[in-house]
C-alpha cells in the first residue's frame, strides 16, 4: 500500500467535497453580513436558517432550539456554565462522569473552584454508567446532569434514554455531549429526554470551528458571548456563514447515509477486533463489545507504549491515536482508560482506531499485518516483556 491510511476519524474527518462546494460561494459572492438590511444579505440569513433546520432534523429537535457555536468545546462550556449560573438559586450540584471529554471535565472543575459541587459517577469496566448510580447521586440541590452520549476514546455508548428518563423523573436538566455520536447513532432528543446536546461539525465531515448547542424550549440559558443580537441574543458575533452552511450540508449527508454507513463500518470494526484479538497475544479490547460506536476500536497491548506504536504505524503510513501519556503532554495516561480500571502500564499501551467512510477491508488487513510486526518488535525491545517471559519460563520449569 502506498497511500496514507487515515484511521483517526474521532479526532477529525476530511471535509467532504460537496460540503466545500456548498460553502465556497459564501466566502466570495455571498459575503454579506446576515444582519444587514438589504436583500443581498438577507439570502445569507436564509442560508443560516436552512442549516439550522437540517441540524434540528438530525436530532429530532425544533430549529428554534438550535444555536450555532464554534464547536463541541464551546457547546459543552456554554451548556454547563450557562445552566450553573441560570439555575444557581435552585441549587449548586452537578452530576457528570469520570470519563467525559475535557471540555466537560475541566468546565466542571472550574465550577468546583467557584462554589459548585460536582459528583463524578464512576463507570464499569466497559465504560458504562450504571443508571442506579445516577438515581442515587441526585439530590435536592442537583441542577444538571451531563453525561456523554458516546465516548471519544473507547467508543462506549451510554444508555442515554434510560439516563434521560431518570433525569426527567427527578426534574433535573440533562445535557449530553454527543460530538462523537451524531451521524453515527440515531438520536432523538425527545424520546431520549435530552435537554441540552452538543454537536461538532468537523467530526461528521463538516468544517472545523463550527458546532451547535441544542437547548430545549423553555430552558433559561444566559448568553455566552455578549455582543449583537445574533442567535436570539444568546451568542453575539457575526455568524460564520460559510461554516454554518457547510455544517448543515455535512449533517444532512451524514444522516442520509447513516444507517448504511454505520452498518458497513461496524462490520469492518468487528472484523478488525476479531482479527487483532486472535492474532496478537496479550491484547485486550477497551470499551463495551456491543454498546459501542460503529467506527471505534480501542486496544491495549501489554508490555509496550503507545507513542512508540503510533510512530511505527506512521512509518507505515497509518494514522491512529493513543491514550498514552506521551501523546497527551502529561505523564499520566488517559483518564478514560484509568476510569475503566486499567492499570497505568496497560493504559500506556493503548491504540485507538476510528474508522471513516473511505476505509476498506484491505486497509484493515494491512493494519492487522502491520500491528503484528510492530507489536512484536516493540515487545522485543521491552524490559517488561523480558521479565514476563522469564517469569513464564520459570513457571514452566
Amino acid at each position: 500500500m502506498n497511500k496514507k491510511i487515515y484511521l483517526d476519524h474521532a479526532a477529525t474527518t476530511p471535509t467532504k467535497i460537496e460540503v466545500v462546494e456548498a460553502m465556497l460561494p459564501y466566502f466570495t459572492e455571498k459575503f454579506g453580513n446576515p444582519s444587514s438590511i438589504y436583500e443581498f444579505s438577507g439570502q445569507n440569513k436564509e442560508a443560516i436558517e436552512e442549516s439550522r433546520e437540517l441540524v434540528a432534523k438530525a436530532i429530532g429537535a425544533n430549529e428554534r432550539e438550535i444555536f450555532f457555536t464554534s464547536g463541541g468545546t464551546e457547546s459543552d462550556n456554554w451548556a454547563i456554565l450557562g445552566i450553573a449560573e441560570s439555575y444557581k438559586t435552585k441549587g449548586n450540584h452537578i452530576i457528570t462522569t469520570t470519563i467525559e471529554h475535557h471540555a466537560v471535565l475541566h468546565t466542571c472543575e472550574y465550577l468546583e473552584k467557584n462554589g459548585y459541587e460536582v459528583t463524578y459517577l464512576k463507570v464499569d469496566k466497559d465504560g458504562r454508567v450504571n443508571p442506579n448510580d445516577l438515581k442515587e447521586a441526585i439530590k435536592e440541590t442537583t441542577i444538571l446532569i451531563s453525561i456523554m452520549l458516546a465516548n471519544n476514546e473507547i467508543g462506549t455508548v451510554q444508555p442515554i434514554e434510560e439516563l434521560g428518563t431518570i433525569a426527567k423523573a427527578a426534574g433535573v436538566l440533562f445535557h449530553t455531549d454527543a460530538v462523537q455520536g451524531v451521524g453515527h447513532v440515531p438520536i432523538d432528543v425527545n424520546a431520549m429526554h435530552i435537554d441540552l446536546l452538543s454537536i461538532s461539525g468537523h467530526k461528521l465531515y463538516g468544517p472545523k470551528g463550527i458546532g451547535a448547542l441544542y437547548v430545549r424550549k423553555g430552558i433559561k440559558l444566559r448568553s455566552f458571548i455578549h455582543g449583537g443580537g445574533q442567535e436570539k441574543k444568546r451568542r453575539g458575533g457575526t455568524e460564520n456563514v460559510p461554516a454554518i452552511v457547510g455544517f448543515g450540508k455535512a449533517i444532512e449527508l451524514a444522516i442520509t447515509s447513516m444507517e448504511a454507513e454505520s452498518n458497513r463500518q461496524a462490520d469492518l470494526r468487528d472484523y478488525l477486533i476479531e482479527q487483532v484479538l486472535e492474532k496478537i497475544p496479550h491484547c485486550r479490547l477497551n470499551g463495551h463489545r456491543d454498546f459501542r460506536l460503529p467506527n471505534n476500536a480501542n486496544f491495549s497491548f501489554e508490555f509496550i507504549e503507545g507513542e512508540s506504536l503510533l510512530i511505527m504505524l506512521d512509518m507505515k503510513d497509518i494514522c491512529a491515536s493513543s491514550g498514552s501519556a506521551c501523546t497527551s503532554g502529561s505523564l499520566d495516561p488517559s483518564h478514560v482508560l484509568l476510569g475503566i480500571g486499567l492499570p497505568h502500564e496497560i493504559a500506556h499501551g493503548s491504540l485507538r482506531i476510528s474508522l471513516g467512510e473511505q476505509n476498506t477491508k484491505e486497509e484493515m488487513d494491512y493494519l492487522i499485518e502491520s500491528l503484528m510486526v510492530i507489536v512484536a518488535r516493540l515487545r522485543e525491545m521491552s524490559p517488561l516483556y523480558e521479565d514476563y517471559m522469564k517469569k513464564q519460563a520459570k513457571i514452566e520449569r
Binding site: F303, I304, E305, E307, S308, I311, M315, S324, A325, C326, G329, S330, L331, D332, P333, P343, H344, E345, H348, E380, M381, S382, P383, L384, Y385, E386
Partner: protein
C-alpha cells in the same frame, strides 16, 4: 516533533537486546509514567566491551537509551561516568521539552548499571551515587 537523529535511533536502535551474565544491569523508571529503561554492561579490565539496552517507552525514551549505549561502548568506566543526560541530548540534536526526562532516565539507567557492576565487584566508582529507588519518579503537574 523529533529531530532526524532521534528518529534514526528510534527506527534503528543501536545495541538493543540483553547480555547474559552481564557485569552490571540497571533498571530505572516506572510503568506508571510510561518509561522503563534497562541497561546491561559487559566490562572487562575497566573497559565497557559491550552494552545492550531494553526500553519500554516513547520514541524519545528508545532513542536516548540507544544513544547512551553508543556513547559508552568501548569507553572506560570513568569516561562512561561523563555521559550525562545533557551529552545524550546533544548527541541527538536535542529533544522536545516534554521529553527531557527521558534523557535523565538514560543517564540514570547507565549509572544504575555501573552501580550494580561496582557492587558485584566490591569496587568504588568515584562520583557514582546509589540509584534512586525504583518507583521514585517525579511527576510534573501543569497548572493553568
Amino acid at each position: 516533533m523529533y529531530t532526524k537523529k532521534v528518529m534514526d535511533h528510534f527506527q534503528n536502535p543501536r545495541n538493543m537486546g540483553e547480555i547474559e551474565h552481564a557485569s552490571g544491569v540497571g533498571t530505572v523508571g516506572n510503568a506508571k509514567c510510561g518509561d522503563i529503561m534497562r541497561i546491561y554492561l559487559d566490562i572487562e579490565d575497566d573497559i565497557i566491551k559491550d552494552v545492550k539496552f531494553k526500553t519500554f517507552g516513547c520514541g524519545a525514551a528508545v532513542a536516548t537509551s540507544s544513544m547512551a549505549t553508543e556513547l559508552v561502548k568501548g569507553k572506560t568506566v570513568k569516561e562512561a561516568m561523563e555521559v550525562t543526560n545533557k551529552a545524550v541530548m546533544e548527541a541527538l540534536d536535542g529533544l522536545p521539552r516534554a521529553k527531557v526526562h527521558c534523557s535523565l532516565l538514560a543517564e540514570e539507567a547507565l549509572q544504575a548499571a555501573l552501580w550494580d557492576y561496582a557492587k558485584k565487584n566490591g569496587i568504588v566508582i568515584e562520583g557514582l551515587e546509589e540509584p534512586k529507588p525504583f518507583e521514585e519518579h517525579e511527576e510534573e503537574e501543569e497548572e493553568f
